[in-house]
């Protein structure tokens, strides 16, 4: 290879260095390269190996140094960190607020139904009240909890045994966890999300309101309905909040990179 061609290849390789570095030292580097090639004490092989290794190592080093200069500024990183924190809180709020509204709203029909039936049974007692058709007057047939979104009612005696219901799962009347009845005994009412463990397990989750029936024949009234539709909406909200979060992070990343690049320190 002729001397001119080798020099031309090296001067082309110099264009790979960051602009600031190239402008400052390009000519001096090319001169050092010429001096090395002209140095009779060095073989061409040694010069070629040294220059090649130097090109690879120093190119990586100078580009990393340039990136550090552009983006490694504490103020820039702090701003990106704060914006990431704010966007994360916003995304969490975007998810948590609608999720709570949906979940609380899922209890609305059950609250009225449970209160209405509990008031009636307070007057007549759970056994007598049921025998007088308290449930048939309030339900239009048996609700299949696994499939239907309609609300249903279940009446329990004071020991938590189901006495009657307008809803069934696998032909049975499910009971909430025992702790729920203990809580209602002490506090009068409880609202729970509960997954009945019956049959083959449909994975159906119930939003339930449990109220205490006092008087001569005490017991409990449970009004519930499947959370299936609410959970679908919650999943949509989660999906949208997740997309919004990723979008905000991408925007912050883009803004930080763009700002860091245009506002990078100019060193002559």
């Amino acid at each position: 290879m002729t001397s001119d061609r080798v020099e031309r290849i090296y001067s082309i390789a110099l264009r790979l260095y960051p602009k600031r570095f190239r402008n400052s030292y390009g000519s001096a580097m090319l001169q050092a390269f010429r001096d090395a090639r002209a140095d009779r004490s060095l073989s061409h092989g040694v010069v070629a190996r040294t220059i090649l290794k130097d090109l690879i190592v120093s190119l990586v080093k100078e580009h990393l140094a340039m990136l550090r200069e552009a983006f490694g500024r504490p103020a820039l990183l702090f701003n990106a960190f704060v914006l990431t924190g704010i966007s994360t809180i916003l995304a969490l709020a975007l998810y948590a607020i609608p999720q709570q509204v949906l979940r609380q709203g899922a209890n609305d029909p059950q609250i009225a139904m449970a209160t209405d039936l509990a008031v009636y049974l307070n007057q007549y007692g759970v056994t007598d009240g049921l025998s007088q058709g308290a449930l048939t007057a309030r339900g239009g047939g048996i609700v299949d909890m696994a499939k239907s979104l309609s609300p249903f009612l279940i009446v329990y005696d004071d020991k938590g045994r189901a006495l009657g219901s307008t809803g069934q799962l696998d032909g049975q009347m499910p009971a909430p966890p025992q702790g729920v009845f203990d809580y209602v005994r002490a506090h009068g009412e409880e609202r729970v999300s509960w997954q009945p463990i019956l049959g083959t397990g449909h994975g159906v989750r119930i939003a339930a309101v449990v109220e205490r029936v006092s008087g001569n024949q005490p017991g409990f009234v449970l009004a519930g309905r499947s959370l299936r539709e609410v959970e679908v909406r919650e999943a949509q909200v989660e999906h949208m909040a997740g997309l919004a979060w990723i979008g905000m992070l991408a925007l912050i990343l883009f803004g930080t990179v763009a700002f860091g690049w245009f506002a990078r320190p100019k060193i002559a």
């Binding site: 030292y25 001096a28 140095d39 120093s58």
Partner: protein
């Protein structure tokens, strides 16, 4: 002023070789490369990229200063600053202590325990 993040830290072979070369006086890039390559200069094979990258950072750290430039900008001359001289002295003391320790352990081929 030496503005390195850790002024007491050992110098890299390239920085040490450059400081040692400039301790003799002002020099341009290729002369520094040549001095660094010699065993007594550190035995470091510096290429132009590593040399000027190191000089750029050393100037920012205040260890060396550019003292001149040829009209065509092909040759840039550098000199040692006072902080550079102190950094070199500190490194030489560190190496001297290490050499003394190695000598006392009989690690030199022709050396003996003192």
């Amino acid at each position: 002023m030496d503005t390195r993040s850790d002024p007491g830290a050992p110098l890299t072979p390239a920085v040490f070789a450059i400081l040692l070369s400039l301790a003799e006086g002002e020099k341009h890039g290729y002369l520094i490369m040549k001095d660094a390559r010699a065993p007594e200069g550190g035995g470091v094979r510096l290429g132009p990229g590593t040399l000027y990258g190191s000089l750029d950072r050393m100037m920012r750290d205040g260890l060396v200063a550019e003292s001149g430039m040829s009209d065509d900008e092909r040759r840039r001359y550098y000199r040692l600053t006072a902080p550079g001289r102190r950094a070199l002295a500190a490194e030489l003391r560190r190496l001297d202590a290490a050499v003394k320790s190695a000598r006392s352990l009989g690690l030199f081929p022709n050396g003996s325990r003192s």
